[in-house]
Point group: C2
């Protein structure tokens, strides 16, 4: 009965209103958001998150990479907290639900516990992870990565954006931005966590196509990310004969094509993307002396991912022609299978809520992959329109978001020991 | 005897010193310059140019596109002026001699006439054309283009740079920057010109390879410039299957390759360059929804250039795959052959100076191409080290620059009627 009361206390209209208010920060003319990590827009979103927490009486703490934790105290405060949440940063032309849903559904879950007057033994926290998207500062899933492995902290603080601004310098501004809202506690990295549950839009079509409103995520496919730099020589476009050219764009175009060809799989499971491609100096009448491009490569099969990922370097080297090529692997994440208490709590919560549901495997990476190294972790997917994501046209329905929040609220209450 | 005195009055050390002083504006750590049109660095160079002219008693006038004319008055001021000069703007990673040599050699020629105490019937002017390079504001050779065809003015004032700044807005700042130097007269566009001579570094290897110090330029090959925009759809790199992707980088890579293949000629005369290639939104885990790339295509043969240039659009359209492509032709310039009084004066000047010389055809475009539509025009090339240009490593020898200035000074004196 307790868990049913939790589910019944989720406020669909209230959750939708929070989404609308959050979408104002970095709103774009096309209805999306541009709220890259640690920009003024991200700081505005963080302040709003802190204000909502303060108004509800939750306690804010921030760790060394800027992850924000809003805590609803448990009756046994020394128990490790059960955590939920996701991220408020977005892609440069991102949507209103990617990341935001997980944070706001977590807040709504805590509000539901308040409304239902239910205490839990363990504390429950809603987290806003820093820089999940990785568009401004590479790599992504950075905040949860540093939380799970604090040895990465020093390196990540030095990461520059395109303009050369250090991540650590932007982060230094967070304290003074949050101070006016209320007290900000310090949170140790890698502090013990009881369980982690992340809500997220699916970013694919399977829920919409099958008419289910909840996806129980069984795992996340592995990723490898690379930065490729092709070095040629700048020269005059009008006077330099072909035989003397070292054209970095031409060499890079060969690589792009050949890599895509190598990565074509008959079952269309492999995900291979070159999202960044920049030529320097970038003037029409100068033969480009340098190209930088990114590689994002994902597949559930760890063996296949290792083999094909390792083939990227020799292929690029073979196609460099008169240019040189430098390849740096920025990130390698194994595929993760969720198991244990967290996913069991989600399965149970789906039954209590009575939600239509299916099991899903996640193509996208999420903070839950990092947290799965620390504690039992799980994810709850809700449908998004036509599967469109990382796009300003991203959309979702209020009733689906509320159903997701109900499942999360119930699972949290069960994991934290609701009484 | 008069023309020999002009040649003897050119000061090699003084000309070199002006090059060194000019190279401070926008100096880069690698020894080049970054002095794109109408940036603060370009304005600094323009102020220096005005100060040198004022100190020598020349009269400054500026036209509606920001071209600057320093005038040494003739004994018959109503005669159309003989003009020399080039441009002080540079590529983003440009060299110290491209453009600057033509302007500074022109100044040195006027100084030589002063030192020799020689008057000319027609006035002689040194011009600094606005935005020859076209890197920040496309297209290039803009200032001379507008001077020769004032109907282009309104369009050019609206051209934005990457940050969205209008060229016209930058130009509005020129008056207040030059005012402290001294009086600035207004110059009408397309005002009659007696003849135009442009000095320039060769930007190729033929003078160096043959040991000649002067190239008499017989013509300039024609150019066509295009902007290509490939429009796909932004989507999530981890969840979007290949069959649903509309990847603008992949489609553009096909185009880059196929265009280069189509443009391969056995005699290596054709110049085909994709200098700009940018993907948007430019984030590693977003399938790029848009690519913009530039095409710079040159060949002396007008018929071949028309045929191959017209094949660019259908080839790109055929390779767009699931994307769309938009192609805009920004500039089309026919090949120009220099003839008439100006090139004859250069040939005569080379004999008087006794310079080792050869005829050359210019691969690079220059302001002289535009001026050839208005008046007899010619160009004087001097060697540059290894033919390297549009590169910070660009270099030239003081003695070659001085030899070029002697030829220019003598040709100007003859054309303007030295007494």
């Amino acid at each position: 009965m307790v868990l049913e009361r939790v589910a019944a206390s989720v406020d669909e209209a209230g959750l939708w209103k929070m989404h609308e208010e959050m979408a104002r920060f970095g709103a774009t003319p096309k209805g999306g958001v541009c709220r890259e990590a640690l920009t003024p827009e991200d700081f505005d979103a963080r302040r709003q998150f802190a204000e909502w927490g303060r108004d509800a009486g939750f306690v804010l703490a921030v760790d060394a990479i800027g992850n924000m934790f809003l805590r609803r105290e448990g009756t046994e405060p020394d128990l490790p907290p059960v955590i939920t949440g996701s991220h408020l940063d977005s892609q440069p032309t991102g949507g209103r639900f990617d990341g935001s849903f997980g944070v706001l559904a977590g807040l709504e879950a805590l509000f539901a516990l308040e409304r239902a007057g239910i205490r839990t033994r363990a504390p429950i926290e809603v987290v806003n992870w820093t820089n999940e998207e990785g568009g401004r500062f590479a790599p992504g899933v950075m905040g949860s990565g540093v939380y799970a492995d604090p040895s990465m902290l020093a390196t990540m603080l030095e990461v520059p954006d395109k303009a050369g601004t250090r991540l650590g310098d932007e982060l230094d501004r967070l304290g003074s931005i949050l101070a006016p809202v209320g007290p900000v506690g310090a949170r140790a990295l890698a502090a013990p966590v009881g369980a982690f549950i992340e809500g997220h839009i699916e970013q694919a079509l399977r829920l919409e196509e099958t008419g289910n409103s909840i996806g129980i995520v069984t795992g996340i496919q592995g990723t490898r990310k690379f930065r490729v730099e092709v070095i040629g020589e700048e020269a005059h476009a009008g006077t330099t004969p072909r035989r003397r050219r070292r054209d970095a764009v031409l060499a890079a175009a060969w690589m792009v094509q050949a890599l895509h060809r190598m990565m074509e799989d008959a079952d269309d499971l492999l995900r291979f993307t070159i999202g960044v491609f920049e030529a320097f100096p970038g003037a029409p009448s100068v033969i480009p002396g340098r190209v930088r491009f990114s590689i994002d490569f994902r597949h559930p099969d760890d063996v296949l991912r290792a083999r094909l990922g390792d083939a990227i370097r020799p292929l690029c080297e073979a196609l460099a022609g008169p240019c040189r090529v430098q390849i740096e692997e920025l990130q390698a994440a194994a595929s993760v299978d969720f198991h244990g208490a967290a996913i069991e709590a989600v399965r149970h919560a789906v039954e209590i809520v009575g939600a239509s549901h299916m099991d899903l495997y996640s193509g996208a990476g999420h903070d839950a992959r990092n947290m799965a190294r620390l504690c039992p972790s799980a994810m709850v997917f809700v449908p998004c329109e036509k599967g469109i994501s990382h796009n300003e046209a991203e959309n979702a329905k209020p009733e689906d978001l509320a159903e997701g929040a109900r499942v999360i609220a119930v699972a949290l209450a069960a994991l934290a020991g609701a009484a």
